[in-house]
Symmetry: C2
Subunit: 367 residues, 2 copies
């Protein structure tokens, strides 16, 4: 392999693929990045066996070929070079990198030993703006379960029906759901696909640098997210996602509307004084949302906020972290809080319905 | 105690004092901040028994008094409040904090149990601009030894003579020295004072927010740095600082001048390929500084830089981290490197003599 490219392009490619690479002692090639020529361009790939990433960029190819090199050193080195022309040339099992006054010889491993990243050649299920997908994913990703005891809820549900994409995540203590309307959809079929949280985190990271649209392509137990010059391929989680619609309350005995930023700060401060189970007590009455939190060692916090309240008085205990995470994902000026009883799920959502976002949180039962 | 103050003022005071407070399990009051009234103002203090910090700010005092409260919760809580009036009131062993719609009751410990921070009532040795002192300290602080085997070099030397303040630090592998001229000095005596690295780090942090001047006052085994409304009191390290002047080379068989930023990048990249002992080989010859570094597992790096070189050819091995630390503290466009032999100390310094900074580094001996 012999190729000339710009430092800027190579740097961008490496930073797209390098994040999924951990430190693998049993299979050292998983610490490496695959560098190769393909279709007159430079192709850079990484995999952790669960997620694979490919990216292509321009280069002047003198000789076709491929090699793998340790991700950390390759990325660290290329990031530090000036934005000039870089020559990449394989010599046996090494990659020689030249850039102005720098010459580096990197030990590599043969490209043939690199795990195959599956190719998916189906038609796309949907196409969606990168920025809209990124924002939607960021609003739900944190609510997914971390424990593997119920694998299906460790992922994020992508539900495609008619012209909408519904994104949902829950760990059974809280649930986040975002509906994206007017998605460009091929075919008539509906799909429910569960995608690992790690893949979604990686997608959010990569999408934040993209302006184009993303195609979602379903393969055999694999999903492909295809952008301009970038592919993210991931395994799908097997299983049936819980029918969470039934736990979302549709009507409320108590409704409150208040300033989002003020509520966020109130809960943040109350959290400082919560006990080990992160409990804070919220009551809605007489035009006020009041919070009480107590830690036997530190002291207590009482605070309140003016709110427009409709319905009966209520007092409920929540995990303040769950409330915070929901509020952070609501970007609107005013937020709606709906409750029914001390033990039934509450809803946080933007006051504006067009946001199509909701966050359900279970109270803490103190008995 | 009952006092009203502005959130902004209290927040600033707490952030000045809180950084030295660790997590002390044997003496819990060391986790606390002392809040008291003094001379019609609000005084906030902290100590870790090695360093003590006092700071004063405006407040409307209704009732004199004092209490101590856990630093972490007090600081976290006050930082989050809106910039409005805050009422502080002691009730038994608690501090009640009120601010608009917030009311917090914090458990405290009696002020009488708080360790005494020594008072130093001597005339000042010198007075110096905060910004100049901060910059000088930042240029030397990292070179101090971390190991306690020679306690005297774990501190930073403050040498006061005539109208200058010399700051020096070394760990015997490298040495940094900064001379500050035209210091306002009282009296005729010279002084050599060794101040702990931790104190100097804290001073750098606090000075970066100050515009006024700093007075340095010597007490009995203690030193006081006095700013407007802030005092930092620290123990002094006993012992004789090594006579390091003798190891600073005064003439050079090889001299090189080059671009500081380019050299910094060259060394940073070379460091990626250095072996476990951080070794990189530097040679000066024929108008070039060349670097070679090799790691048996990763590969090798060869790079060079145009330099104005005078004197004989030379090749020497250095710890790249030491060179980097020196270079980072040199802010000028061009840097001077002087060497005499493979085994004798080299000097890095700004090309401009008026900077009054020098950095000596010992080569690595490879036999």
């Amino acid at each position: 392999m012999k190729i000339t490219c710009l430092q800027e392009n190579l740097k961008t490619s490496l930073n797209i693929v390098q994040n999924i690479i951990g430190r693998n002692l049993t299979l050292p090639i998983l610490n490496n990045i695959l560098v190769q020529t393909e279709g007159g361009r430079l192709k850079i790939s990484s995999t952790n066996l669960e997620i694979g990433i490919n990216t292509w960029s321009a280069g002047k190819i003198e000789k076709e070929g491929a090699i793998t090199c340790p991700a950390k050193i390759l990325t660290g080195f290329i990031n530090s070079l000036p934005n000039k022309k870089i020559d990449l040339e394989t010599k046996g099992e090494t990659l020689v990198v030249r850039c102005e006054n720098y010459k580096v010889t990197l030990k590599g491993l043969p490209a043939e030993d690199f795990p195959l990243i599956p190719k998916i050649k189906e038609p796309a299920l949907i196409e969606i703006e990168a920025n809209i997908l990124r924002q939607g994913l960021a609003q739900v990703v944190q609510a997914a379960a971390l424990s593997e005891s119920r694998p299906e809820i460790t992922g994020i549900l992508f539900k495609i029906e008619r012209n909408s994409l519904i994104l949902a995540a829950t760990d059974s203590f809280r649930l986040a759901e975002k509906t994206i309307l007017d998605v460009k959809k091929e075919g008539e079929l509906s799909h429910s696909i569960i995608i690992p949280q790690r893949t979604v985190q990686e997608l959010i990271r990569i999408l934040s640098e993209q302006n184009s649209s993303v195609k979602m392509v379903l393969g055999n137990n694999q999903i492909l997210f295809e952008m301009e010059d970038i592919q993210v391929i991931s395994r799908i989680i097997d299983g049936q996602y819980p029918d969470y619609q039934q736990i979302i309350p549709k009507s409320f005995l108590t409704q409150a509307v208040m300033e989002r930023d003020e509520l966020l700060n109130l809960i943040r401060i109350a959290g400082l004084f919560s006990s080990k189970i992160n409990d804070i007590k919220i009551s809605l009455r007489a035009g006020r949302l009041e919070i009480l939190s107590q830690d036997p060692d530190l002291g207590e916090n009482k605070s309140y906020l003016e709110a427009e309240i409709k319905g009966k008085e209520i007092e409920t205990t929540f995990n303040y972290r769950y409330l915070l995470e929901g509020l952070i994902n609501i970007g609107t000026k005013k937020v709606f809080l709906g409750m029914n009883s001390e033990t039934s799920p509450a809803i946080l959502k933007p006051q504006e319905a067009k946001e199509n976002y909701l966050y359900v949180v279970m109270p803490i039962r103190l008995n």
